[in-house]
């Protein structure tokens, strides 16, 4: 039982963490919480199944196309749902615009792909076993994203430019950084991470249009618990969420597991509104 809790808990926690990072990467570049993060995860699974299982493409080609589609959806999100509302950020119109885009995409997927769950292909031709690829693939994807983002942000000029606009958009623009292009690149990157989450977790979650709202909700929890824009916090909180949810599934089961998860979520936020890893915002007086 403990083995089962840990295996599925960590695997699903990694998917939540990746969706959390997707939120964060978009947030850092625009100060907008785009609720298309879960939709990206859903698209990763559905498109992976479409390209590899249905169209019969090789796994590598299917994978690259899924990432490209994720990047494209990220850019479309920025252009359609984020850019028009950036000027009035304090009115929080982005909640409406990004949710609308997410719902439209979800409904379109339901119409074109169907409302049934469909199989996601086995990516590697390995025998099924305890530590199966459906568990280790999300973990590998999670590690790859953490390492990749660290290298990007710390070692490359583009990464530092991302950090600069995340830190202070106006100052970055004053220094001559192409803020709009960097924001679009951030959304493309977030799109790829979200699609990767759905692709790596495809065998576990199946290619199902209904995964979008589930990932949107559960992927937001690591962001809130880990601190807005804090990727490391999102990773830790995502893993904790997965483990706690799986333990609750075993201990109380059914719909009560979701109740337990959100009860703890609310309690943590009451105790630490800035999140477990976030720092309290200093107010200048």
């Amino acid at each position: 039982m403990v083995e089962s809790i840990v295996l599925s808990g960590v695997a699903i926690g990694c998917i939540y963490a990746l969706i959390g990072v997707t939120y964060n990467v978009m947030f850092s570049a625009s100060r907008v919480f785009s609720f298309t993060a879960g939709t990206l995860g859903m698209l990763g699974g559905v498109l992976g199944s479409l390209f590899i299982a249905r169209a019969g493409m090789p796994v590598v080609v299917g994978f690259v196309l899924v990432l490209a589609a994720g990047a494209l959806f990220g850019v479309v999100t920025e252009v359609v749902a984020v850019r028009p509302v950036l000027r009035s950020l304090e009115q929080h119109l982005y909640v409406l615009s990004t949710l609308a885009l997410a719902l439209m995409t979800q409904q379109l997927t339901a119409i074109e792909w169907g409302t049934e769950s469909r199989p996601f292909p086995r990516l590697f031709d390995l025998a099924r076993g305890g530590f199966d690829q459906q568990f280790w693939l999300p973990m590998a994807a999670c590690i790859a994203v953490i390492v990749g983002l660290e290298l990007l942000y710390r070692r490359t000029l583009v990464g530092r430019a991302f950090l600069a606009i995340a830190e202070d958009t106006y100052a970055a623009r004053a220094l001559g950084l192409p803020e709009r292009r960097l924001r679009m690149a951030s959304f493309a990157l977030a799109g790829m991470i979200g699609a990767l989450a759905g692709f790596a977790g495809g065998e576990m979650l199946l290619a199902f249009f209904g995964n979008a709202p589930m990932l949107t909700f559960y992927g937001f929890v690591p962001v809130a618990l880990g601190g807005m824009g804090n990727n490391r916090g999102a990773m830790v909180a995502g893993l904790l969420l997965g483990l706690f949810q799986q333990a609750a599934n075993f201990l109380v089961g059914g719909i009560f597991a979701s109740v337990a998860v959100f009860t703890v979520f609310i309690l943590v936020l009451l105790a630490r509104p800035e999140g477990l890893a976030g720092a309290a915002v200093q107010r200048r007086v």
Binding site: M1, S4, S8, I12, A110, I111, G114, T115, E116, S117, R118, P119, R128, G201, M204, L205, L206, F208, G210, N211, M214, Q246, N249, F250, G253, G254, I255, S258
Partner: protein, 396 residues
């Protein structure tokens, strides 16, 4: 001679009466218009597409044989596109614009929930095959008839199979958190208890939950001898079947028809996991031991073959249900004519209409016409040409 206003009105009235009196003579040769509301496109269209094959065949056969007392049937179709709003628009158009004599459909419950009250208000006779219990009510919808089982009959058949045929007394009942899932579990659990079964596990789980092992472990430790899942979500059902297989737990799974669908099959990790899975079906369109079907069904299969109707991608009971519906309506009209009240009077006394799908009977107080005993369970992994083998234990 000048024409006074009174004379003009009188002559107009006379003309109107004359044209009204002349109408039946013209109408006697006009086709009889039957409204039809299938979901031929959209996410819930698989049922409608199957039913449509049977309907079209039946109407062709009736018209080829001379129609209804010399009048051809004209099927006025409005595709609901699997959407209740479109179904409502279609129903309004059929009754007000097309002036149909009777409506068959919608064929999905969600659409029927919206359409049934509307047709009742318009006093249009309706026959539909939807399972939701509240979709017939002789007081609220006195002109609405169901020529298919209710959810109560579906649940009762599964319960009978588990308790009476398989002799399992400790049962786990699980559903997803959809309206259908929760309502079904709430309805079926008391029925199981009334039959003397002990419900050792009862749960509603989110259909998107990727890991159902905790639930199945809980069922196993509670001593469940049968699992009864109620969901139309193939992903949810396949996870239950896969987890049972991974656990090597030899326990029957008895429940919703989707357990035997192609979508569920596609999601199974191993084909052998589909053994000992028993979904609902209907005895007249199932293979008895030895691969036999009733004589009426054999003749129907021959007709389908000669009409070159494909059964490989649909289910025989959908086609049979579609085939029976216009025949039942035509029989009523042949006997009493196309007037709504006469059709309803006739159907209220219908006794054992011999359908391929099953014998249909109604009374003024009972508009659910499908017989209880024809609802049975089948072997999910036995699908051949749209039909299944009866589950073990029913006998020949």
């Amino acid at each position: 001679m000048p024409l006074t206003r009174r004379q003009a009105l009188a002559s107009a009235g006379a003309a109107a009466i004359a044209s009204g009196l002349a109408r039946p003579a013209i109408a006697a040769n006009e086709p009889i218009r039957i409204g039809y509301l299938p979901a031929l496109t959209g996410p819930s269209s698989s049922t409608g597409i199957g039913i449509n094959r049977g309907i079209q065949l039946a109407v062709q056969e009736i018209n080829a044989a001379g129609g209804i007392n010399g009048r051809q049937i004209e099927l006025i179709t409005r595709d609901t596109q699997s959407e209740p709003t479109k179904a409502v628009n279609g129903a309004a158009e059929l009754t007000h614009g097309e002036k149909v004599s009777v409506v068959f459909g919608p064929v999905n419950s969600g659409e029927s929930l919206a359409v049934v009250p509307l047709l009742a208000r318009g006093r249009t006779p309706q026959v539909h095959p939807c399972w939701v219990d509240t979709l017939t009510d002789t007081k609220k919808y006195p002109m609405c008839f169901r020529n298919a089982p209710t959810n109560q009959q579906i649940g009762a058949a599964a319960n009978r199979y588990v308790v009476d045929v398989l002799k399992r007394k400790k049962v786990a009942v699980i559903s997803d958190t959809s309206g259908y899932g929760t309502a079904t579990v709430n309805a079926y659990v008391p029925m199981l208890k009334a039959k003397g079964a002990e419900v050792v596990y009862q749960g509603n789980v989110d259909a998107a939950n990727p890991d159902l092992r905790p639930e199945l472990l809980r069922m196993q430790s509670a001593g469940a001898e049968a699992i009864m899942p109620w969901s139309v979500n193939a992903g949810f059902l396949s996870r239950i079947i896969n987890t049972r297989g991974q656990m090597g737990w030899d326990v029957p799974i008895v429940g919703q028809t989707t357990l035997g669908s192609g979508q569920t099959k596609a999601l199974l990790e191993k084909p052998e996991y589909w053994a000992k899975v028993y979904p609902n079906n209907f005895r007249p369109v199932c293979y008895a031991p030895g691969g036999k079907v009733p004589e009426r069904t054999t003749a129907f299969l021959d007709r389908l073959k000669s009409a070159k109707i494909d059964m490989g991608d649909t289910l025989l009971w959908w086609i049979a249900l579609g085939y029976d519906s216009p025949r039942m309506i035509a029989e009523a009209m042949k006997n009493v004519g196309p007037e709504p009240d006469q059709i309803v009077d006739y159907l209220n006394k219908l006794k054992g209409f011999p359908g391929v799908y099953g014998d249909i009977s109604f009374t003024p107080d009972q508009h659910d016409g499908y017989p209880d005993d024809e609802v049975v369970m089948v072997e999910a992994n036995s699908l051949k040409d749209g039909a299944f083998n009866l589950a073990p234990g029913y006998g020949a």
